[in-house]
């Protein structure tokens, strides 16, 4: 069922527990619930790491028989036998439920999409979860190159197709976006036969969200960027050129202390940290 788990060049050492967080996505054109694209890529990465041992976790309403269930089942259609649903009411905060789940069950790697396709979609959840668990987080992971009980070698995606190799200690949270492998096809049979395991969990109302008001986005006209290029090569250059960084500074040899101070200074000057 999962041939790619073996052909993957990242044999996960036995006993490592890998989990992927999955949410109910929303198709950008039709608005219909579906497997969220980035989450599905996280699942794909998980399957390549450990085949069907990957555990899938979702926090949200139970939703038996509704279209949300069908959307979640799409993840099972990728070849995983079961999915844990941490029961919550509509509008509850997923964070405490997930944090307590992983504190109880333990995990070595948690994979997630960078940002949800509906709801707040702030992209904060993986950071807050890593913070609660006290784990490091790596964003925008393109591939996990190698992994053992202690640490993992990771390829992180940077803008304009660049990649950076990182080493991170286990356990950690990793988020994936468009740079990761596209998710495999959903097979209908397994998606319907897979098991949705409901579980009681912490159900805290998401205060921040409940204060929000949701309205459909307004289409705004886009300003076209006119490029005066004479040749195809020019146009290519214009399209791929790095924006000229202003006032930036590359710090390589300085001590961690100095680097951290520089970041903090920046955050203070931008008014983010007060």
């Amino acid at each position: 069922m999962l041939p790619d788990a073996n052909s993957s060049n990242t044999p996960v050492s036995s006993g490592l527990k890998v989990a992927a967080l999955v949410s109910v996505g929303q198709h950008p054109k039709s608005g219909r619930p579906r497997r969220a694209d980035q989450d599905a890529r996280a699942v794909e990465m998980g399957i390549r790491l450990c085949g069907e041992h990957l555990s899938l976790v979702h926090a949200g309403p139970e939703g038996k028989g509704d279209i949300r269930e069908q959307a979640l089942r799409q993840y099972l259609g990728m070849g995983i036998k079961g999915l844990t649903i941490l029961h919550q009411q509509e509008g509850s905060d997923a964070l405490p439920a997930l944090a307590s789940h992983f504190k109880d069950q333990g995990a070595d790697i948690i994979l997630a999409g960078m940002r949800a396709e509906s709801g707040e979609a702030s992209g904060m959840l993986p950071y807050l979860l890593a913070d609660r668990l006290g784990w490091p987080i790596v964003s925008s992971v393109a591939d996990i190159i190698s992994i053992n009980e202690n640490d993992a070698e990771i390829l992180q995606a940077l803008p304009r197709g660049q990649r950076r190799k990182l080493r991170v200690s286990v356990p950690f949270v990793a988020t994936v976006d468009q740079a990761a492998q596209i998710p495999r096809q959903i097979a209908f049979g397994p998606s319907q036969r897979g098991h949705l395991k409901g579980q009681e969990s912490i159900d805290e109302i998401d205060q921040v969200k409940s204060d929000w008001e949701e309205t459909p986005a307004r289409k705004r006209p886009k300003r076209l960027n006119i490029k005066k290029a004479k040749s195809a090569a020019d146009r290519f250059k214009a399209a791929t050129a790095k924006p000229q960084g202003e006032g930036g500074k590359i710090m390589k040899d300085e001590s961690s202390q100095e680097k951290a101070q520089a970041i903090l200074d920046l955050l203070v000057s931008e008014g983010i940290v007060k």
């Binding site: 054109k29 096809q185 209908f188």
Partner: protein, 632 residues
Amino acid sequence: MILDWLLPLLLAIALGLMAIGAIRRVSLWRAGQAEPVNIITGLMAMPRRYLVDLHHVVARDKYMSNTHVATAGGFVLSLALIILVHLFGLDNQVLSWALLGATTLMFTGALFVFKRRTQPPQRLSKGPWMRLPKSLLVFAVTFFIVTLPAAGILPENFGGWVLAVLLTAGIIYGLGEMVFGMTWGGPMKHAFAGALHLAFHRRPERFDGGRSTGLKPVNLAADSLGVAKPKDFKWNQLLGFDACVQCGRCEAVCPAFAAGQPLNPKKLIQDMVVGLAGGTDAKYAGSPYPGVEVGQAQGSPEKIITEGLVKADTLWSCTTCRACVEECPMMIEHVDAIVDMRRFLTLEKGETPNKGAEVLENLIATDNPNGFDPQSRTNWAADQNLPLMAEVKEADVLFWVSDGAFDMRSQRILKAFVKVLKAANVNFAVLGDEERDSGDVARRLGDDATFQTLAKHNIDVMNQYRFKRIVTTDPHAFHVLKNEYGDFGGQYEVLHHTTFINELVKQGKLRLDQFKGGNVTYHDPCYLGRYNGEYDSPRELLKVLGIELKEMERSGYRSRCCGGGGGAPITDIPGERRIADMRMEDAKAVGAEVVAVGCQQCTAMLEGVVEPRPEIKDIAELVSEALIEEVH
């Protein structure tokens, strides 16, 4: 004479072994899934199905049909009489003379079989099939001579022991091939399996000139979906595979085979036989799948077909054009088998190749294969002022627009058809954004779940409105609405636009000018022609336009596919040529400057052929250009 006691004994042994072989063969078929058939009706109908329906197909090759009538008729008659005369020893001159006549008839037929086999066409399998004419001759001659004394022509003890030995050898060889071989896998197996296949055919509607082309629904609640192993086929599908005579007519017409894609319908059916009986394809003596070596395939009833017997690429090469089914004298259902196996790959393994996964996901999320916003389905008609069913609730004609709505080239066809509808003052309406993809592509790609969802949604929507008939410019939607929605409660009268326009012309509702252009040929879309038997309306319409068709060699029921069906452009299995290019060669060969079509998919495929080439025009476009509009 020694034969007096030896012949009955040999006969009894041969018949006994045949019976054992028959039981064994039947048990191989019975490994398949249950499928109810009417045994008595089937057996009673069998002779007629053989003589009328099967011969209707065989008769396309006159030489072979006469040959087969003589040989097979002579053989069946001979065998019956041999049993009476030589086994039961009925001493009756009339019977003996009749037997002489029957063996002579068989002999004559066998001579023609022999002649064809001296220079067999490429499509015929060789191997054991090459010895069959000799076996037929030996059988006929031997039993002719053996019967001479019984008929009173020669004395009892003529010829002496040399002849007796020769005759004994002939009897053993003849009975071995013709009686024993029939149920033990020799070339004569086709007679035994073929007769039962005709009796228990899975689509009995096909006999007596009927048509049955809609795919059968998958039970989505089953433990495993589609056909993974040979034993997952229905038992009478297995029986059908066993009836193949390896005549290769299917191979000769298959567009994928001709394009050098790894598919040969004859080999596929033979591989299914390997699967049901267990073993390898080493003994196969016909053309291979292009580019795939023979002898490597292995199968058994319990083994997954795509793991060693047939490559998935073979299954995905098929355009579901049905040319093979149309041509098969044994009325074997290749397309059913291929889609059954695709269903397993898509529904259980999630392995639809190339763009397949993306298209299916789009169909699920947006109801159209390209993932366009479903709310933009009617944008093409912004300037057409079309009545919407949601507003009018009722109309004479429901115009089924299909996914051509999203494609700029197809929109020209749609607009041309709307112009014709308006010119004839037809009371029609469209579903607008309520329409969804018909499910055709999803189904052919093996995703019956998505097909069923789309079908049920469409049926629910249509059930809210009142209309007399559906008309569509898309033969695929036409076929699905007409022949495949019935299983889900959608029974409609559906017409292809060429049929409908032809009707309007006959009723005098359209005034048409004459076509002014060059040579025109007409390309029959598979889903209009072979799937639904509509060959005449398009031709009548073109005639009304004053066009004298330059028919291509392969037209009508033998039309060659454009390459666009069955999701083939989506799975895109590489070959040596493109099917559309070959079809365009057909058109160029008759000097066509315009290829008239009746399908937007054909239009897309044929227009994809590099210029210079004939122009492609849908019949709706030709008609709308010829409209004489009343000036008020």
